[in-house]
Symmetry: C2
Subunit: 126 residues, 2 copies
DNA sequence: ACAAGTACTAACCAAAAAGTAGGTATCTAT
DNA sequence: ATAGATACCTACTTTTTGGTTAGTACTTGT
């Protein structure tokens, strides 16, 4: 996790967009290659770190941890670590995270409808 | 518009995600800093290039054109150029683009509900 | 003759996102 | 004694996204 350069035009436009449009705000929270997929997998039930990792075979550990940390910081999910050894950590959706379900559903519906060019194999986010 | 490196892990994961999850598919189409904002502005009525530019004062011309070209290639909007001089070009949503409205609405609703930290000034995407 | 408006295009560079390759500590089973 | 499992962490590099600056051609208004 690198520091962002707060004075960059990119950052300024980002902040401006966030205050202008709640859609952009939402996009900032669930955008990127992995976040929607993580949220989807947690939508059924809470999962341990290792379960998530096996559910998302292509993600690297660095990416998984990084995305989980960001989602936690954004209060979309909760991390519960039991102080045992070997470690036992569970991730689950917060209310805000669970409330994204209609958004994911709307996106899934559109994606399924308007993509003649692609056949989805699995899983279909619901 | 630079060429992407098709053999990169990034690209491979992107393609894999696209085939695995319609949510990711949708996200790829409307993600980024500007696309949702452009779609929002066109949702009311078709606009000329210059009108869009004035509606989005912070976007640079390069970004605007680039996003418009990508949205056009993805068949979310249509570009109609009248062969006159000075040029007269109009952008409007396709059916697929208009069908994104429930998605944008769901995102706007979530964004408005779960952002105590931010007050949106305008415009509120609907 | 010159500025302003139309809708772009291209070369270049900075910043962010994503990926690679290694590492940590503790415990249990072999 | 070593291997595998638990859940991470760090330094680094590659790839992609976004931004800066300059330019095009043609017409109308001053």
């Amino acid at each position: 996790m690198y520091a962002v350069k707060e004075s960059s035009t990119n950052q300024l436009n980002k902040q401006a967009s966030l205050c202008k449009c709640p859609v952009t705000y939402t996009l900032e929270r669930i955008g990127g290659r992995w976040k929607a997929l993580i949220l989807y997998h947690l939508s059924g039930k809470p999962l341990r770190y290792g379960e998530l990792k096996r559910a998302l075979p292509d993600i690297t550990e660095k990416m998984l941890i990084q995305q989980l940390k960001e989602l936690e910081a954004d209060k979309l999910l909760t991390r519960v670590a039991q102080p045992v050894v070997p470690p036992h950590v569970t991730y689950s959706l917060t209310e805000a995270g669970a409330a994204l379900s209609p958004v994911l559903k709307a996106m899934a519906a559109w994606g399924l409808n308007y993509s003649e060019d692609i056949t989805f194999n699995a899983p279909v986010c619901k």
